[in-house]
């Protein structure tokens, strides 16, 4: 039963990891695969008797030996033509778990039934059945509470803390929205196009506006709509130089509605040539 559960959990993980990677189910089963199942099946294969190990030792060895087995499987994979990937890792660990579980099954079956290791699921619940002392019931409830508390602690410490910094992302992309094809030569009288983006992390709704300067002269002013916290704004913006000249600095100054000085400034250099 225990070995079947380990194999089934590993089998279920494969489609989960492939198609729903990152889901809570794949997180839990993936951790079981990396931290428990290989060791559990190996321990079961080596120690099939009930008296070989107590349950705490069996579980402890399962965790520890999984941490030992996983790297060795990876090293072996490295020397195969398939290398280390999602599929090869999952399949190789699955093969290991199934093989070790098969050996464990075989060795257990050769033992008299009373000597075999077979975990008794639900033994804790027996406290709720029959005539149990009130204290035993209280302790069982307490155990459940403590388990929930331990899991809750894990969730609490593992969650990222709230971000306290307030800031704004301001970026400049080319006309196609990629970090390429920035204007370097502009013909006087024609417009150049870039993409500007703002992401608000100020933790309050904020109004922004952007001023574009060429050679120190304002040529365009663009206002974003009011951006809620974490809201993004991205827009293609065109501008045209007003005079011919080499190496003119194009500046994009971002202001929040209350700023008197620029909050962020981005720039690049262009040559402006006459229309000949």
């Amino acid at each position: 039963m225990d070995l079947l559960a380990v194999v089934v959990a590993s089998l279920v993980l494969v489609p989960l990891a492939v198609f729903c990677g990152g889901s809570p189910a794949s997180l839990v089963l993936g951790l079981v695969l990396a931290l428990f199942s290989p060791g559990y099946s190996l321990v079961a294969a080596v120690f099939p008797k009930r008296d070989d190990l107590d349950i705490a030792q069996r579980l402890a060895l399962s965790f520890g030996l999984s941490i030992a087995v996983v790297p060795l499987v990876g090293v072996v994979l490295n020397f195969t033509p398939w290398g280390i990937s999602l599929y090869t890792v999952l399949i190789s660990l699955l093969v290991f778990i199934i093989a070790a579980s098969a050996v464990a099954c075989y060795r257990r079956r050769r033992l008299p039934a009373e000597e075999r290791f077979e975990p008794r699921f639900g033994f804790a619940l027996s406290g709720f059945r029959g005539r149990q002392h009130l204290w035993d019931r209280v302790l069982l409830v307490l155990l459940v509470v403590v388990i929930i508390g331990a899991v809750g602690t894990l969730v609490y410490v593992a969650r990222p803390p709230a971000v306290e910094e307030t800031f704004t992302e301001f970026y400049l992309l080319g006309p196609e929205g990629k970090a390429a094809d920035y204007p370097d030569v502009i013909i006087l009288g024609e417009e150049a196009i870039v993409t500007l983006g703002v992401i608000n992390h100020q933790q309050v709704a904020t109004d922004y506006y952007i001023r574009i300067f060429i050679g120190g002269k304002t040529v365009v002013e663009v206002a974003t709509s009011t951006l809620a916290d974490e809201e993004e704004w991205e827009q293609r913006v065109s501008f045209a130089p007003v005079e011919v000249g080499e190496a003119q600095k194009v500046e994009f100054q971002l202001y929040r509605s209350f700023d008197s000085d620029a909050y962020h400034t981005l720039d690049f250099w262009v040559d402006v040539v006459g229309n000949q």
Binding site: G21, L61, A68, G74, V157, E169
Partner: protein, 483 residues
């Protein structure tokens, strides 16, 4: 389930919950890995997953040379497998894993200690292991922390081997994997095992026939280390050279970290040492002797031995603290037994003993948390910088090489997935770091310098004045196409 077992189960689960909390206590208010080493390990792991092989272009040096036979390969595979199997983002797993690993350490310590009557106590004090940026520890997602699992694990197997051959291959597998994960820890675990085996073989009254597995194990332990020589010969030879040439890392001496554990734990450890000596027997001596030798070594190697880089030995404090946790647990359990025996005739004697022990435990925990509060940790990146690096990874062409402060290189590579021209957090990398900082301070006007290094992204703390660059984001510059 018996009432005593239920109470033990409740306490064990509570201790594991405490382990989860203690592991991440130093970073409860910080969302990212704390130490540059963590970033480096994550970066290498990501690179292995990207290339699918254990020989891979070095992401921290612009892919200019291959990394092969890395001495901590086993750790990268374990972390990479966890990433692949869970599908979890690496940042999420980087927070979760230290908590799980310390929980496992506490549980394995319990499983080892319970046969000798101090499982819960050993598990409780195992959660006290300290973390600093010098010798690392459970708050960091690093190989040495994972290696700590193998101390109690191998001790369980060793004690099972007293009359049984079956644990022998499992010990060898564990040591081989540990050598591939963290060689220094493997040497320390091997050392502890050898001491245990010697005491067992010398003092146990079991017949010689029953001792044969242990004798074989004693002979096999040194051979398990061969794997790291075969896998990472260049690294091993370099370290041997370091030791022979006494290459020193110019780091200041670290103060003894034991006060951070709290004086209650230290007092209980001293009591535990006393009980181990007083009770005697090979098991007690086998626990006592390696702890004393390791404590002596990590405290005095610098003055007396002066061999090799300090950082190789500073990790030893973690091993000392783990073994001390066992001894502290032993001391507390002996006090409990003495107290119960002494006060058993009193009406409220048993309850009084347990209340007194609970007060000691709570006070020890309070002092331990206070010890963490005194420890200072640095932050490699803040949230805006993290967002910058993430944006660079998403928006700029893949496999670009970036020039930035080498100190932030490991972090940059891990977050962005791009290459860094160079990254080095160690003091001996300072000359190159100074050159790069000077280049940025001068405005990065030398385009040839950038092109020669095949750099296309610059992340600068200073405004740059090079017309060949486009500032695409605060501090982020890219080299124009055609250059």
């Amino acid at each position: 389930m018996k009432r005593a077992s239920l109470i033990k189960a409740i306490l064990l689960v509570a201790i594991i919950g405490l382990a989860f909390f203690m592991a991440l206590y130093p970073r409860l208010d910080y969302p990212y890995p704390l130490h540059v080493d963590e970033w480096m390990h994550l970066g290498y792991t990501n690179q292995i997953l990207d290339t699918g092989h254990l020989n891979f272009p070095n992401p921290f040096h612009g892919g200019q040379w291959e990394v092969g036979g890395h001495p901590e390969t086993g750790y990268y595979i374990w972390l990479g497998t966890s990433l692949l199997a869970t599908g979890s983002p690496w940042l999420g797993l980087a927070r979760l894993m230290p908590a799980l690993v310390l929980g496992i350490i506490a549980f394995v310590a319990y499983a080892w200690g319970r046969k000798r009557g101090f499982g819960l106590e050993a598990a409780f004090f195992a959660t006290f292991i300290h973390t600093t940026i010098r010798f690392l520890g459970p708050a960091f997602l690093v190989p040495v922390t994972l290696g700590l699992v193998f101390f109690p694990l191998c001790l369980i197997l060793l004690e099972k081997m007293e009359k049984d051959w079956r644990p022998l291959p499992l010990i060898v597998i564990s040591l081989v994997a540990l050598f591939l994960t963290h060689g220094t820890t493997a040497v320390a675990v091997g050392f502890v095992l050898v001491i245990f085996l010697i005491f067992y073989l010398a003092l146990s009254k079991n017949p010689m026939r029953q001792k044969l597995p242990s004798l074989t194990c004693l002979l096999l332990i040194p051979f398990s280390g061969l794997v790291i020589f075969l896998w990472s010969r260049a690294f091993v030879l370099r370290e041997i050279q370091n030791i022979i040439n006494a290459e020193k890392v110019p780091l200041p001496a670290i103060p003894i970290p034991l006060p951070q554990l709290g004086y209650v734990m230290i007092a209980l450890a001293v009591i535990g040492f006393g009980f181990l000596i007083a009770r005697g027997g090979w098991r007690n001596y086998a626990l006592l002797v390696p702890t004393v030798i390791l404590l002596f070594f990590v405290q005095f190697y610098r003055q007396w031995f002066d061999i090799g880089p300090d950082i190789l030995y500073e990790r030893g404090w973690l091993y000392v603290m783990l073994l001390m946790a066992f001894i502290t647990g032993y001391g507390l359990s002996q006090l409990r037994q003495l107290g119960l025996a002494f006060f058993k005739r009193w009406r409220w004697g048993t309850a009084s003993v347990y209340i007194a022990l609970a007060l000691v435990v709570v006070f020890a925990l309070f002092l331990r948390l206070d010890g963490y509060a005194e420890e200072e940790y640095y932050h490699v990146v803040d949230v805006p910088t993290y967002n910058d690096f993430e944006w660079i990874g998403e928006e700029l062409p893949e496999n670009s090489i970036a020039l930035l402060n080498p100190y932030a290189g490991w972090t940059f590579v891990t977050i962005s997935g791009q290459y860094a021209y160079t990254s080095n957090a160690y003091p001996w990398g300072q000359e190159e770091a100074r050159q790069i900082n000077a280049f940025f301070m001068m405005g990065a006007t030398d385009t040839e310098y950038i092109k020669e290094r095949k750099v296309s992204i610059l992340y600068s703390p200073f405004p740059l004045k090079n017309p060949d660059l486009v500032e695409v984001r605060d501090g982020v510059y890219i080299l124009r196409e055609g250059n």
